[in-house]
């Protein structure tokens, strides 16, 4: 503990915060961890059954995942103030036909679990 304190003092005297944020010459920059883990399950409103094949996407972003056999999904994404997610049935009647849904997560600072209900068409 004492060594770490001394290190901070000496690093500060060198007038550069970069001392604590380094990268190996053949490595990557450091990850500052600005993301969150989103997971959940999508179910049908009337039957209550999980829905496979629902596209879960992040608005204004390329990221998406598709729900599995149990209607479950999970992914990491950038932590932003208002995270807008879209739930869309993109496989036509293959796993049933459902209306889409948009959800906005506001001021989320930790990992989230979402229970999403979609209405049968």
């Amino acid at each position: 503990m004492k060594s770490r304190f001394i290190r901070k003092i000496l690093g500060g005297l060198s007038f550069t915060s970069a001392l604590f944020v380094f990268q190996a010459c053949y490595g990557t920059p450091q990850d500052f961890g600005n993301d969150l883990f989103v997971e959940g399950q999508v179910k049908a409103k009337i039957s209550g059954l999980p829905i496979k094949g629902i596209k879960v996407s992040v608005a204004d972003n390329l990221q998406y995942v598709t729900t599995d056999e149990d209607g479950k999904f999970s992914f990491y994404t950038e932590m932003i103030q208002h995270l807008a997610l879209k739930f869309q049935d993109t496989d036509s009647t293959l796993n049933g036909l459902y209306a889409g849904k948009d959800t906005v997560l506001a001021d989320v600072t930790e990992n989230v679990y979402l229970d999403i209900i979609l209405e049968e068409k």
């Binding site: 770490r4 690093g11 970069a18 990557t28 883990f37």
Partner: protein, 356 residues
């Protein structure tokens, strides 16, 4: 005066870092397979295809031995070309479940939209992609006429993500040194925020290829270019931590030269060997995850990395800058170890003499 004080504080800081030797940065050489056949290969990685890819579970078991992980601990997937592995995402998720960060170094050839998305979904946090010139010079170095087109697409994808800590690296050589300003403009137009420049170590296939090495004058030109770019705001340009650069030290990086190999940087290599950066001579291997406990090796071995007095020979024996340089980047000690392979400071001094 202030500059001298900063240097003294830095030397003390570096000593305290050695004493603490926190493992902050762990390379995983997850494959030695590659989809390109670059001219400079062998200078910074093992080019041995005889090893199968290391199973993810073997690597994770080694990671699990690390009892005390600093907050910023990162696993860096490297190769070979890591994207040849289809299971990077599952390994990435397993690391994130353990509360760890992970990142990736790639040649960009396989980094398309689908892979970009799946890597982000799995919690990729940082990424480095190589771009080695404009189209002709990049494809020349990479020995592939489609590489430039693919890597530009990869760079645009990566730069579009607000999530990734992302930079582009360029190996500067005879073919691309005159293109640096154009490469900078290309990167700025692709919205890249950070650009790191290297030279190529004369080992492996690169040892006998003069076109890959910069002359002393060209090396000084590179330093001047970086120092000038750092005065601007368009893009964060820096020289890699490959070596000590004498009078340019405060001008081309965010901090003074400090080779952290074996001090904060470790690696698990393709055969399970435990070392520091993957481009370091493999005779410095400190153990093997299939025999040894990774963390015990990290805590108790790595002595040649943490006490570099042994490098005080050859050019370094009488160098007045040794206390700031410590024998240059560790990867500059290869083969018989009688002398440092490259002295960047010497190149700069030779260039200055050439000018007079």
């Amino acid at each position: 005066m202030i500059s001298s004080l900063k240097r003294v504080a830095f030397r003390k800081f570096r000593e305290s870092e050695v004493q603490l030797h926190e493992l902050n940065y762990l390379f995983w050489e997850c494959t030695t397979r590659c989809n390109l056949n670059c001219r400079h290969c062998g200078s910074d990685c093992s080019k041995d295809y005889s090893y199968p890819d290391m199973p993810v579970d073997d690597f994770l078991a080694a990671v699990d031995t690390i009892k005390e992980r600093p907050e910023n601990f990162t696993v860096v997937f490297t190769g070979g070309e890591p994207l040849l592995r289809k299971d990077l995402e599952s390994c990435g998720r397993a690391l994130r479940k353990r509360g760890l960060r992970w990142s990736l170094v790639t040649n960009g050839h396989l980094y398309d939209e689908q892979r970009h998305i799946s890597l982000l979904n799995a919690g990729l946090g940082a990424l480095t992609i190589s771009l080695d010139g404009l189209e002709a010079s990049h494809n020349w170095l990479r020995n592939n006429d489609k590489s430039f087109t693919k890597v530009i697409h990869a760079i645009e994808l990566a730069a579009s993500s607000g999530r990734l800590s992302f930079d582009v690296v360029t190996c500067v050589n005879q073919k691309n040194i005159s293109e640096l300003a154009q490469i900078r403009d290309l990167l700025v137009s692709a919205n890249v925020k950070s650009w790191r420049l290297f030279t190529i170590i004369p080992i492996g296939r690169a040892a006998g290829d003069q076109e890959l090495q910069l002359t002393d004058d060209q090396f000084a030109e590179l330093m001047d270019f970086i120092a000038l770019q750092r005065k601007g705001k368009q893009i964060d340009v820096k020289f890699s931590c490959e070596g000590y650069v004498g009078k340019y030290e405060p001008l081309v990086r965010d901090s003074y030269f400090f080779c952290r190999a074996g001090i904060n940087i470790g690696s698990v290599l393709i055969d399970g060997s435990i070392s520091a950066c993957p481009n370091i001579d493999r005779s410095f291997t400190q153990g093997n995850i299939y025999r040894d406990n990774l963390y015990e090796v990290w805590l108790n071995k790595f002595l040649p990395f943490r006490n570099r007095e042994w490098t005080k020979k050859g050019k370094c024996a009488s160098c007045k800058d040794y206390k700031d340089c410590w024998g240059n980047g560790f990867h500059n000690w290869h083969g018989d170890m009688n002398d440092v392979l490259v002295c960047h400071k010497e190149k700069i001094e030779h260039a200055a003499k050439n000018q007079h």
